[in-house]
């Protein structure tokens, strides 16, 4: 598999400041019952909006990547003690963000891989997406800005989300190629936000994969 070229069929990325919340919630209300829209978190809406345009079904493996996950819900849950909030607890648990959309769609998924590292998360997320034995697989990820957790570098300072639909054959808007071996003692990394920016700008990206021990090249048509 290490010489394979993969096709990017579809890809989306959004930067989500707080202004996105009202706009995205309005979009969700058009599609989902009001209960779903009112309970959607910021990161849930952003990742959901990136997942929505992709074509997938139960057999499409989904890799979900986030460094911090549901930071705003985590803050809200901690702040709710001693009368702990069940809703914030439930939403604070990784990987609730993307599950909000999958549950709203009542879309069972066989293989679902939530990863939550920091160092080289983009590389880990892409290699996890490529090792699926399905013809098509999805990577979706993101992080959200919080408040007091940010002061301690325990949450992202920016909000963003991105997605990639990767397949083995056919036409697409870009490709992922596995390249040369990594140099010895390589310490390079590619963050999830760098990947999101490359998707948004359709800019080429070279990402280390420590699992493949190779460089991964993302390029666009």
């Amino acid at each position: 598999m290490l010489n394979q070229r993969y096709i990017i069929e579809d890809a989306h990325a959004i930067e989500g400041g707080n202004d996105l919340v009202a706009e995205a919630r309005a979009k969700y209300k058009e599609t989902y019952p009001s209960r779903v829209a009112r309970r959607m978190t910021h990161i849930g809406m952003m990742t959901g909006l990136c997942l929505k345009p992709l074509s997938y079904d139960q057999n499409t493996p989904i890799v979900y990547a986030s460094v911090f996950g549901e930071s705003q819900s985590l803050e809200a849950f901690i702040d709710s003690f001693p009368g702990a909030s069940p809703l914030h607890f439930q939403r604070s648990i990784h990987p609730s963000a993307i599950e909000q959309t999958l549950i709203a769609n009542k879309q069972p998924i066989n293989r679902f891989y939530p990863i939550t590292s920091d160092f080289n998360l983009a590389g880990q997320a892409i290699e996890s997406t490529l090792i699926s034995d399905s013809d098509r697989s999805i990577l979706v990820g993101g992080d959200e800005r919080a408040t007091w957790l940010c002061e301690h570098e325990l949450a992202s300072h920016t909000s963003f989300a991105c997605s990639l639909l990767v397949k083995k054959t056919g036409e697409g808007i870009g490709s992922i190629t596995i390249g040369d071996e990594l140099p010895e003692n390589c310490e390079s990394e590619c963050t999830l936000s760098q990947l999101a920016r490359a998707i948004q700008e359709h800019s080429a990206l070279q990402i280390p994969s420590y699992s493949f021990n190779r460089w991964i090249h993302v390029s666009w048509e």
Partner: protein, 94 residues
């Protein structure tokens, strides 16, 4: 908590409707849209089990009542009227 001030059942029902709307962040329903005996789940308010739990926690905070298990929660939350009766009964026992 305002245990010291007795509250009528009707006023309690009104208070509960407001609490439900605010605890669940419902922005498209007014208290007057909720019938006293309307089922809180399924049709109507379209609440689910996690909404129920959020209401229970809000009730426990505000009225110092105790609902221990998810099974008891389901029973208490049939309608706003059953909720009011539960609170009145718990407070009279306290």
């Amino acid at each position: 908590m305002n245990n010291s001030e007795p509250i009528s059942r009707d006023a309690l029902i009104q208070e509960l409707k407001e609490l439900i709307i605010s605890a669940l962040n419902i922005d498209d329903i007014k208290p007057s849209d909720i019938g006293d005996n309307d089922p809180l789940f399924g049709e109507g308010l379209d609440l689910d089990s996690i909404d129920a739990l959020e209401i229970v926690v809000s009730l426990e905070r505000k009225y110092s009542i105790k609902i221990g298990s998810s099974e008891e929660s389901k029973k208490a939350l049939e309608s706003v009227a059953t909720l009011a009766d539960l609170i009145i009964s718990e407070q009279s026992e306290a």
